[in-house]
């Protein structure tokens, strides 16, 4: 950010009165309303995500990859309505991932790093819903909607769904690394450095799931202790932490531009000095 420092927006006084009155005031006047809307969308999305995957469809924790064809067909039969209702909800709310990714990209735009980081993240994560969620939702919905098809095909859909969901983590791997690099290079201290390193931990777990392509049983299978349970704990912690940190970022947001006062231009960072050096 090389724009000259400008005055931060002075916060308006929130009125006292009935809760409804205060909510209405915030909707109309709070300068952070768009940010809060994006943040609450993240919270709502992850609640629904949990509800759909862990409760309604029972696709998480994943069922066994080692089942024979008959057992897989039985699984589809048992979860018929759960799959249809759950993934019906998911198809409706997939777009809620956009404000979530936008807020994360916004965090990077508040950093002193190049906008290329935020752009890369946005492009990567606009793809992420496909391998991360949609392929599975579509494949399992197809399986649930066509129970009369050849059991071998149903079994193929089952493998396709879970392998695409668990095994295709490259987008998230690079996305986490982009965010990590932005945080570590940032001089505005938008997000703490330890969270930058936590991104690396999360990125590494995306690699740990890859043996799920090879194993049908044991700790490295798609429902295994290492490939799923430990990774899920790390991912859950990571997600909880970034939602909390984004909330803190919005609370601290002052809408000012330019470097922080204590990061006033130095010989190395002052654009005019750098330009002179370049000449």
């Amino acid at each position: 950010m090389s724009a000259p420092a400008t005055e931060a927006v002075s916060p308006l006084e929130a009125p006292s009165g009935s809760p409804l009155h205060r909510i209405a005031w915030h909707w109309r006047h709070n300068p952070k309303r768009e940010l809060w809307l994006a943040w609450w969308t993240i919270v709502a999305f992850y609640q629904l995500f949990f509800l759909v995957f862990f409760v309604l469809t029972r696709t998480q924790p994943p069922p066994s990859p080692g089942w024979d064809v008959a057992r897989v067909v039985q699984w589809f039969h048992h979860h018929h309505y759960g799959l249809l209702i759950g993934f019906g909800i998911m198809f409706l709310i997939t777009g809620m991932t956009a404000p979530s990714n936008a807020l994360i990209a916004y965090s990077m735009r508040r950093m002193s790093v190049s906008p290329a980081f935020a752009y890369s993240y946005l492009v990567l994560y606009s793809l992420s819903a496909i391998p991360g969620m949609l392929l599975m939702c579509i494949a399992l919905t197809v399986g649930a909607m066509r129970p009369d098809r050849d059991p071998e095909l149903i079994s193929w859909l089952y493998d396709f769904a879970f392998l695409s969901f668990v095994g295709t983590m490259g987008v998230f791997l690079i996305g986490s690394l982009v965010w990590m690099l932005a945080i570590l290079l940032d001089r505005n201290r938008v997000l703490p450095k330890w969270f930058g390193y936590l991104n690396l931990c999360n990125a590494l777990t995306e690699i740990v799931v890859s043996p799920a392509w090879i194993f049908k049983t044991g700790v490295f299978a798609w429902n295994g202790l290492i490939a799923w349970w430990i990774d899920m704990v790390v991912f859950g912690l990571y997600t909880g932490v970034f939602i909390f940190l984004l909330r803190r970022m919005i609370q601290r947001e002052g809408f000012g531009t330019g470097p922080l006062p204590d990061l006033a231009p130095t010989k190395e960072t002052d654009p005019s000095a750098l330009a002179e050096t370049a000449q």
């Binding site: 002193s112 790093v113 190049s114 570590l184 290079l185 940032d186 001089r187 703490p192 450095k193 330890w194 930058g196 390193y197 936590l198 690396l200 931990c201 590494l204 777990t205 690699i207 740990v208 043996p211 090879i214 194993f215 044991g218 700790v219 490295f220 202790l225 290492i226 430990i230 790390v234 204590d262 990061l263 006033a264 130095t266 010989k267 190395e268 960072t269 750098l274």
Partner: protein, 208 residues
Amino acid sequence: MTDLAGAGPRPHRVDGKPDAKDGNKPAEFVPGQPDMWAFVLFEALVFTSYFVVYMIFRTRSPELYLQSQAHLSLRIGVFETLVLLVSSWSMARCVQAARQGAYRSALTNALLTMFLGVVFLVAKVFEWTRLIRMGFGFSSNEFFSHYFFLTGIHFLHLLIGFVAVGVIVYQLRSPARRSQELVETGATYWHTVDFLWIVIFALLYVVR
């Protein structure tokens, strides 16, 4: 974006402490960024969970694990461990030299650490090739799955370690940078990877 975080000369620190480079730095809680220590703690927890899983599955079929373990070459394992221990020693010398302002010596030690890291990686690839030629791959049996997974994920951590040492070398090369904090942060990462190897070595090669 012109520099690594915190690397460039800063006018003053927010917490009012004098900058790391002025030599009168008060004793900090930990060397390097405390943030890196959060990473160390978290990674240690994740690896501990891998080790616990390994131990649980080992107690389920001790015969298979013992027989498979016999195919590992303890000699190569000891060599790799020694190489990493010496690399940690050279890294410690690098930090010490940088603290005393002997940047040329610090740089030499950082490059020596990198060289030893490469020796470890080559030894590791050699060891993997040897086992695969003997017919033991990632999916041969439970022991070898754990073996290739643990050594593989450690290998990956070591590759990231080259980025950490790269940052140290970058810091030491120019008088305009030389952030002691970043040197110590990179060193902390390297020592962690070394420490993790010691545990992996003990569990996979030594414990019978």
